[in-house]
């Protein structure tokens, strides 16, 4: 303490001496230069303000293997893309940022590969980033103001549909000009799509906070030539995923909404939109089926309902025996590798840290697991 006192007493003495000598100009000069040197010391680069991370390994070659989209935290986080090469076992994380030096934005919902291009749909950032999937080099973006895009389905080299979470519409995108052609109004949240001939089948659902009386939970049938909704069929609560099987039948997984909990797996004739089969899941708490996937020849369905289930398209009842029991995991995403006949699932842990991917064979035996980005959601094969 006394040393501090001495320092200040010394400073005060110096000051008094300076006043006597009337050298205030000198002090000001001195000050100016010390301030100037401090400015140099104290300045940092704008990059240093942004969040920092150890980006990890990136192979740079992504022709073979699968992509994993990691959503990233809503609003303040950023989504990333990971790549896994099953042949070499190499895992590359943050591959978009490592190639391009900037970020994808947040809630990377999905990625669709089409004609040497990858379309990365970034939900909360209201845009679609276009990349070269072989190198992850950024090629441009399609920005749709006020949108919350979810999934993209290319209909041809020229045209794609993009669904939306909140806007009550889907978008028609020009794939050559990378621009928005038109918006088609719907009566709810548009989600997944599949195509048969010129028809596009699109699930329409409702968010849990959507209290409107009009509109419903539907499967929309859209004429891919005119972009008009030509027909629809009412479904149980929460239709999300739609896939097409080997016999050209549509399967729609309805998650039951979050409250009513009457989830169902529905088989639909795409031509008549007639419901041919409906499997109801139990009403127990925690029953929340999601992520309906199809195997390579269209004969088996895979989905999550706490555990991973496999379902034969010709079965008369729901398979009650899980293919992979959750065993402490909270599976969030699911994928089927049609080349290697393998099942992928991911766990986002607490959703505010890097998640994990698990790979299983068709008997449900774990092959391996690896760490990816924050909130892994979709697998792109």
């Amino acid at each position: 303490m006394s040393s501090v006192v001495k320092v200040f007493q010394f400073l005060l003495m110096q000051y008094k001496v300076l006043i006597k000598k009337n050298v205030s100009m000198k002090i000001l000069k001195c000050l100016f230069f010390s301030l100037l040197s401090l400015l140099v010391l104290a300045c940092n680069e704008p990059e240093e303000a942004a969040p920092q991370a150890d980006l990890g390994f990136a192979s740079g070659k992504y022709q073979q293997g699968i992509f994993i989209t990691n959503e990233g935290n809503f609003d303040w986080g950023h989504g990333t893309i990971s790549h896994f090469n099953p042949e070499t076992g190499e895992v590359s994380n943050n591959i978009f940022k490592q190639k391009n030096g900037f970020e994808l934005g947040n809630v990377v919902q999905s990625m669709t590969l089409h004609k040497d291009k990858g379309y990365v749909v970034v939900n909360n950032s209201a845009r679609i980033e276009i990349v070269n999937p072989a190198t992850m080099e950024w090629q441009g973006r399609i920005h749709i103001p006020k949108s919350s895009p979810r999934y993209l389905l290319p209909l041809s080299n020229k045209k794609a549909y993009v669904t939306d979470l909140y806007a009550d519409r889907f978008y028609v995108i020009d794939l050559q000009k990378d621009s928005l052609i038109k918006e088609i109004p719907t009566t709810g949240w548009t989600e997944k799509m599949t195509q048969l001939d010129k028809w596009v089948f699109m699930t329409q659902t409702r968010t849990v906070f959507d209290n409107r009386k009009e509109g419903g939970e539907l499967l929309l049938k859209i004429d891919g030539a005119t972009d008009q909704v030509v027909d629809s069929v009412a479904l149980p609560k929460g239709p999300m995923d739609v896939v097409l099987d080997a016999r050209n039948k549509l399967w729609v997984l309805c998650n039951g909404g979050l409250i009513e909990r009457t989830p169902a797996l529905v088989k639909i004739n795409p031509y008549t939109l007639e419901i041919e089969k409906q499997f109801d899941f139990g009403n127990d708490a925690g029953t929340y089926p999601s992520r309906l996937r199809m195997n390579d020849n269209g004969t088996k369905l895979y989905y999550l309902n706490h555990h991973i289930y496999e379902q034969d398209i010709d079965a008369d009842t729901l398979n009650q025996e899980p293919l992979v029991p959750a065993n402490g995991r909270l599976f969030y995403g699911l994928g089927f590798d049609t080349q290697l006949q393998q099942v992928y699932a991911c766990d986002a842990i607490d959703y505010v840290q890097q998640g994990w991917v698990f790979r299983f064979d068709l008997l449900g035996v774990k092959i391996d697991s690896f760490k990816v980005g924050v909130i892994p959601g979709e697998f792109v094969f």
């Binding site: 303490m1 501090v4 006192v5 200040f8 400073l11 006043i19 205030s24 002090i27 000001l28 001195c30 000050l31 010390s34 301030l35 401090l38 010391l41 104290a42 300045c43 940092n44 704008p46 990059e47 240093e48 303000a49 942004a50 969040p51 920092q52 991370a53 303040w76 986080g77 950023h78 391009n100 900037f102 970020e103 947040n106 950032s125 950024w138 006020k146 919350s148 939306d164 909140y166 806007a167 009550d168 519409r169 918006e183 849990v208 209290n211 998650n255 409250i259 925690g286 929340y288 402490g328 969030y332 766990d347 986002a348 842990i349 607490d350 959703y351 505010v352 840290q353 890097q354 924050v374």
Partner: protein, 651 residues
């Protein structure tokens, strides 16, 4: 970095010495603060206050801004003008309790307050209670509490103040206050108006080509009005009525990942408080009744239609409070203090619905709280505090909270006093109404977050003689474990719900050094506060959870706040410095924000106009234009210039 700070402090020291030469010969009268003649409550716990003079210097600041400068509380800013929430001693935002004249202002829905919405001008005194020091006022302050109090001077007076400030972000703040009265009746009226564009340029490093963007979707318009009336009933009793109305509407600025956001938030509050007090030499009784109406609105445009679809949420909180306190002086060695609190909160919100019918319902809670405490000075050098608090929430008995503290004067001579403190307490924080009732994920079965905190410290200060120097140094170490820490995490799919998942161990060391030199027309103040706080999750959520032993999100381990102030006659020069360490933005530490250092320079000059006073203040915030973020990807301003003119009538 230490070097940098040292250099900085030294240089700013020189600046102050240099600049202080420009003074004239008008004699400056030091303001005298009258201390109340009663034993300070809970001396064995850590309490600090922000002096009135500092409140005046930061008249146009928000509560969050002044706390960031003067206390170790870390303030998270969601961008310029955005929500500001505290992290006190490594705890969460809802673990800091904010009181206005003893009335808790934390939202029963969120459990927290937005510190950006409280103008400093509406308070006469800010006190900070560290950790369990807050138990005297209520539960839930696991990190601590912030008190905003009004002061009444019973004298014949007529004072008017008007102030206008403008800064380079196109922010304008106007303040006015009128105080008048006599020894029996006093009235204070305050008004506040803020129109802020929060406009600044920043380099967007997460976009292709690193473009320079302008932060322009962050407008805020806020106004407030405060009326305080106090009356003396006879010699011993006083009656006080306070009414505070405030409204804010602001655009929610987008993150750096996009240029535009089409969302706004409205906050409106009405706070009414009536208080009766009886003071005499033996006792101090007080009874307070309060009504608070909080309205919170949020709206976001969701499509490009001519009449865009929006998502809109609205909540209205009606909060009724009754507080009673009785202080008795049994002898010069023994003081007893007891009290009760009764709170009834009723919230109607678009987010609260009946789980079965899906129909909108109101959430309400009834809290009753009793405490009793004693301050005992068995010998002059020893002081012992004991407190017991018991709360019932909706008739359910909550954890019993004991608290024991001791302060001992170890060593005293003509120059220095050295004293030691130690205390141990239990505290808890009840789940918020959102935690319990948010549709459809609210969890009524949640347990309160609770734990024990121990604290020890040493204080060295110079004896209060008429020497020009006064210095104090305080070292405090604390250790606390909080069980059943609530976090929101998806239970199924992407639907987040609150669960008692964590056990958080928080421990730290705080050091505060204050030096004041005062002689003739000169006054020098030096203040430095350096803290190291480790706050880590101890309990893995599952076998892959990598958050264990990692510092909690957005919680710096080390932080520094300091200033040097030189006053010479009517001139004041202040150099302020804050520094915060690395902060994780992911629970596993895989992403983080770099440390940041902010330097502010303030020059103030007062012009005496007979009985009146005109003061001019020029301020440069973030002098060196340091690039930083408080919340990831929310841009923060670089250098900001601010000018303020204040007129005091009959000062």
């Amino acid at each position: 970095m230490k070097k940098l700070i040292n250099t900085l402090l030294l240089v700013s020291g020189f600046i102050t010495w240099g600049m202080a030469q420009e003074t004239d010969s008008t004699f400056y009268l030091q303001e005298v603060t009258v201390k109340e003649n009663r034993i300070p409550p809970r001396v064995s716990f850590k309490n600090t206050s922000i002096e009135k003079e500092q409140l005046r210097e930061n008249l146009t600041a928000s509560l969050g801004e002044i706390l960031a400068l003067k206390t170790p509380i870390f303030i998270k800013n969601y961008g310029a003008g955005g929500t500001a929430t505290p992290s006190f001693r490594g705890t969460g935002a809802s673990h800091t309790q904010v009181y206005w004249n003893g009335i808790n202002l934390n939202s029963p829905m969120l459990g927290q307050v937005d510190l950006s919405l409280f103008p400093v001008a509406f308070t006469d005194e800010i006190e900070v209670n560290y950790g369990a020091a807050s138990l005297l006022y209520g539960t839930g302050g696991l990190g601590g509490a912030i008190q905003m109090n009004s002061k009444v001077a019973w004298k014949k007076q007529f004072q008017l103040m008007a102030s206008q400030s403008v800064n380079s972000m196109e922010n304008h703040i106007s303040n006015a206050s009128l105080t008048f009265g006599n020894s029996k009746l006093q009235s204070t009226t305050k008004a506040f108006y803020k129109k802020a564009n929060n406009r600044f340029d920043f380099v967007n490093t997460i976009q292709p080509g690193q473009p320079t963007w302008t932060n322009k979707h962050a407008q805020q318009q806020q106004h407030g009005f405060l009326q305080e009336l106090s009356a003396k009933l006879g010699k011993k009793q006083t009656l006080g009525i306070k009414a505070w109305y405030q409204q804010s509407k602001r655009d929610l600025a987008p993150s750096m990942d996009k240029k535009e956001e089409f969302a706004w938030q409205g906050d409106e509050s009405l706070r009414l408080l009536a208080e009766w007090q009886l003071n005499d030499s033996k006792k101090n009784l007080s009874l307070k009744g309060a009504y608070i109406h909080d309205k919170l609105e949020y709206e976001k445009e969701l499509n490009n239609a001519a009449q865009p679809k929006t998502s809109y949420s609205l909540s209205n909180g009606h909060i009724y409070k009754l507080n009673g306190i009785a202080n008795f002086k049994i002898s010069n060695q023994l003081y007893l203090n007891s009290g009760f609190k009764w709170d009834y909160d009723e919230i109607s919100s678009t987010s609260y619905k009946d789980l079965d019918s899906g129909e909108k319902t109101n959430a309400h809670q009834n809290t009753f709280d009793l405490y009793t405490s004693a301050e005992w000075l068995p010998v002059p050098s020893l002081s012992i505090s004991l407190l017991f608090r018991q709360q019932w929430l909706d008739s359910e008995r909550k954890p019993f909270l004991p608290s024991l503290g001791m302060k001992y004067a170890l060593w005293t001579n003509a120059t220095f006093i050295l004293s030691a403190k130690a205390n141990l307490s239990r505290n808890f924080h009840a789940p918020t109404l959102n935690d319990r009732y948010w549709y459809p994920v609210g969890n009524p079965q949640l347990k309160p977050e609770e734990g024990w905190t121990g604290e020890g410290g040493l204080q060295l200060q110079t004896a209060s003689t008429h020497r020009p120097w006064h210095a104090s140094y305080e070292l405090t170490a604390f250790n606390s474990v909080i069980h059943n820490w609530i976090i929101w995490k998806p239970a199924i799919s992407n639907l987040w719900r609150p669960e008692n998942l964590r056990e958080v161990h928080s421990q730290g060391i705080e050091q505060v050094l204050k030096i004041r030199y005062q002689q003739n027309n000169w006054r020098l103040d030096f203040f430095a506060s350096a803290s190291v706080v480790k706050s880590e999750n101890q309990k893995p959520y599952d076998d892959l959870d990598d958050s264990v032993d990692k510092q909690l999100l957005y919680t710096p381990v080390s932080s520094f706040q300091g200033y040097i102030k030189v006053k010479h006659k009517q001139n004041t020069l202040i150099a302020e410095q804050t520094a915060y360490g690395k902060r994780y933005t992911q629970n596993d530490g895989s992403e983080w924000l770099n440390p940041y250092y902010l330097t502010n320079l303030v020059y103030g000059r007062e012009f005496s106009l007979g009985k009146h006073l005109l003061s001019l203040q020029a301020r440069i915030n973030n002098l060196f234009g340091y690039h930083y973020q408080s919340i990831a990807r929310k841009p923060m301003p670089n250098r900001v210039y601010q000018l303020r003119l204040t007129f005091h009538m009959n000062e």
